[in-house]
């Protein structure tokens, strides 16, 4: 009797140990994942990506959260201040991310990149994720800004893609006289104007000088090229639709789609939106050109505005290995193929898609990015937060014609000086 009990309890104990160690072995790891795509088809895409990953890795559980684009810029700061900060999160490379790196919030993934991972990625789009020589993130999709124009309107007015900035103004003038809105523009949130400025600054200011000025500890924006960039922007303002500061970017885009406006400065990642949402009439009649270069300006006339977007791993994650693995997957070939098919986006993996697999419009604009030797960052995410807050408002004033380029630059230099004093 007692032997039976002993055997039974032994067996029971062993079972316990086995189940216990099994549970340990298969212990579920929950990763918190934050991105900014609230709309279809992107939101479904991420749900599927996460589901696929969880299916392939049964011990990983991904807890996904989403914050819409504009509020994301505030929310991310609030979230990173908490202990339940996400393990893997979306970010824009450049100063937007650099401040989090300085605050010790982002994990240095250089060693993982050097371990073969980096070889699979396109160097020029990993570059933006570097800070002081170390790599902090991986690209999710390539991007650049181009003018998307309505070829029918161009034919109708009798103009062609401008080759340089003064030609551009002539073209805009003709379009305006023909009764069209030359450029659709929604600048309620001033990131929209920051894209113009990023490109114009790159054309007007020597690259090294520009890069130095973007460093909040040193930047003084003393180079005369900045004034030139602002003046060039001012030259464009008469050709925008009315109330540019009162409407959102996607509200303005409607007038491009329905043929009221001749062109709009769009990110190439919006081309899929054209393919998905624009009326046939527009879809069959559009083309792109980059911001026409400025003759005789001091900057690099081959530079193209367009930083990739990507994901980083939190420095405070409790599961660094698992988080890195998920980041690799998220920015890797498998997801990249799916991304190209479902969303028409191209990620940073070498040769992830070839010609013919995706619409030509997407493929060709992506080639623009890959051929460019010098990508420059969006002006807003490359500036220190405080400098950008002031500059963004100033640029809205310039858009409305209530401030001059000189005033904008003066205020910008002033705030840059204040910020410098904090370092």
């Amino acid at each position: 009797m007692s032997r039976k009990i002993i055997t039974l309890s032994l067996v029971f104990a062993m079972l316990l140990v086995v189940t216990f160690s099994l549970t340990i072995g298969a212990q579920e790891v929950t990763l918190k994942f934050l991105h900014r795509w609230t709309q279809e088809p992107d939101s479904t895409f991420f749900e599927e990506v996460v589901a696929n990953y969880e299916a392939q890795n049964p011990n990983i559980n991904i807890d996904m959260e989403v914050v819409a684009n504009d509020p994301f810029k505030e929310k991310i700061k609030i979230i990173l201040g908490t202990e339940n900060a996400p393990d893997v999160f979306f970010t824009w490379p450049g100063e937007f991310t650099n401040r989090f790196i300085r605050a010790g919030q982002v994990m240095d993934i250089t060693s993982y990149m050097e371990d073969g991972w980096g070889d699979t990625l396109i160097d020029s789009v990993v570059e933006p994720f570097k800070y002081e020589g170390k790599i902090y993130g991986a690209p999710y999709r390539l991007d650049a800004k181009v003018f998307v124009y309505n070829t029918k309107i161009f034919e109708d007015v009798g103009v062609e893609e401008p080759k340089n900035f003064s030609e551009f103004i002539t073209v805009l003038d003709k379009i305006k006289n023909a009764g069209y809105t030359p450029i659709a523009f929604g600048n309620m949130f001033p990131w929209a104007v920051s894209h113009y400025m990023g490109q114009l600054n790159a054309y007007s200011v020597p690259y090294d000088v520009y890069m130095e000025d973007l460093n909040p500890a040193e930047g003084d924006f003393a180079h005369p090229g900045y004034l030139m960039a602002l003046e060039k922007y001012e030259e464009l303002t008469p050709y925008f639709n009315e109330n540019a500061n009162a409407i959102r970017h996607d509200e303005a885009r409607v007038s491009l789609f329905n043929g009221e406006a001749a062109m709009m400065y769009l990110e190439i990642i919006e081309i899929p939106t054209i393919e998905q949402q624009a009326p046939e009439e527009f879809k069959n009649n559009y083309d792109v050109f980059v911001m026409p270069p400025i003759e005789g300006a001091a900057g690099d006339q081959t530079a193209l505005i367009g930083y990739p977007e990507g994901f980083v791993v939190s420095a405070n994650t409790e599961h660094p290995e698992e988080a890195i693995a998920f980041l690799k997957y998220l920015t890797g070939k498998e997801v990249g193929r799916k991304e190209a098919q479902d969303l028409l986006f191209v990620n940073g993996v070498k040769n992830v898609v070839s010609e013919g697999e995706i619409p030509d419009s997407v493929y060709n604009t992506t080639q623009l990015v890959l051929k460019t030797e010098r990508l420059v960052n969006w002006f807003d995410s490359s500036l220190h937060a405080e400098i950008w807050s002031v500059t963004g408002s100033e640029l809205q004033k310039l858009t409305d014609g209530v401030a001059t380029p000189e005033e904008v630059l003066e205020n910008m230099r002033e705030i840059a000086e204040e910020v410098r004093a904090q370092f």
Binding site: A103, S389, Q422
Partner: protein
């Protein structure tokens, strides 16, 4: 006996703990924060002394905000308290019969809707191309008016203020109506015997009798004007170019856009002093009324 002594405290402790932990300690801590440079995502902080305050008083946006809060207070006094009073007296006058109940209900209705919902509603009403307001103007003038009410610095703050008048005039009106209903009927009878017109009755009987409530509603309105946040946040977010910033949104922006939490805390201290003194004035006034 011992039990008897401890009971009152047992009843009080939960409430006291809540108030201390979630109201007093944070507010005191906020004063402390206001002397530092810190942000929401990095751990460290630097002592700055009064620098944040000095910076605030040199910041143009701060003055824009104060002016906007003041505009909000003044216009709200005129419409919510002034027009609200006229409506209250009219609805309570003998001129109206049962229909007064209908008007009362209708006018009060907007105030029960969440502010965020009203704000978004007006965000669309003011939209330059597809909003109700321009559509109506175009209907009457047969023009193609596409003014951006919320997008132009001249009108944006007033458009938001107008929205609040739409929402809260009826609310203040109801408060005044309740006060009017408490006035003894005899006072009016006496006035009538002396041959007073309805306007005279309003000036010499109604208004003096509800003086306290008029003061109270005025103070509520003023405090509300300096606590403003949601209305601005859901319509203009302080734009275009910071012309519609109020203290509340300016605080939010400095904390989560500029990454200057200490600076934002200093703005909060200023909000504290403004609302606190106004409230103290209210209590003083209310007490005087009771004497």
């Amino acid at each position: 006996m011992y039990k008897k002594n401890i009971t009152p405290y047992l009843f009080i402790i939960p409430a006291l703990l809540f108030i201390l932990i979630f109201v007093y300690i944070p507010i005191v801590e906020n004063f402390y924060f206001s002397f530092y440079r810190m942000n929401s995502y990095a751990p460290g902080k630097t002592f700055l002394g009064l620098d944040n305050y000095i910076d605030i008083f040199q910041n143009e946006i701060f003055y824009t905000a104060i002016i906007n809060n003041t505009w909000y207070a003044v216009i709200s006094l005129i419409f919510q308290v002034g027009l609200g009073l006229i409506l209250a007296i009219t609805l309570e006058s003998k001129l109206l019969g049962k229909e007064r109940k209908f008007f009362r209900t209708v006018y009060f209705l907007p105030s029960v809707i969440a502010i965020a919902a009203v704000g978004l509603m007006f965000y669309y009403i003011y939209n330059p191309n597809l909003g109700l307001l321009n559509a109506i103007i175009n209907l009457f003038t047969e023009s193609n008016f596409n003014y951006a009410w919320l997008g132009k610095p001249n009108t944006a703050i007033f458009a938001v203020i107008a929205m609040s008048q739409w929402q809260f005039t009826g609310y203040i009106m109801i408060l005044l109506i309740v006060a009017i209903q408490k006035i003894p009927e005899e006072l009016y009878e006496v006035a009538e015997i002396e041959g007073a017109t309805s306007i005279q009755k309003a000036i010499y009987v109604t208004i003096p009798q509800i003086k306290e409530m008029i003061l109270v509603t005025s103070v509520i309105t003023v405090i509300g004007a300096f606590k403003l946040f949601t209305e601005i946040f859901v319509t203009t977010r302080g734009g275009p170019y910071d012309t519609t910033q109020v203290l509340g949104t300016f605080m939010y922006k400095t904390a989560f856009f500029y990454d200057k939490m200490g600076y934002a805390a200093a703005i909060a201290v200023i909000i504290f002093f403004i609302t606190f003194t106004t409230s103290v004035i209210q209590i003083r006034l209310a007490n005087r009324g009771e004497d």
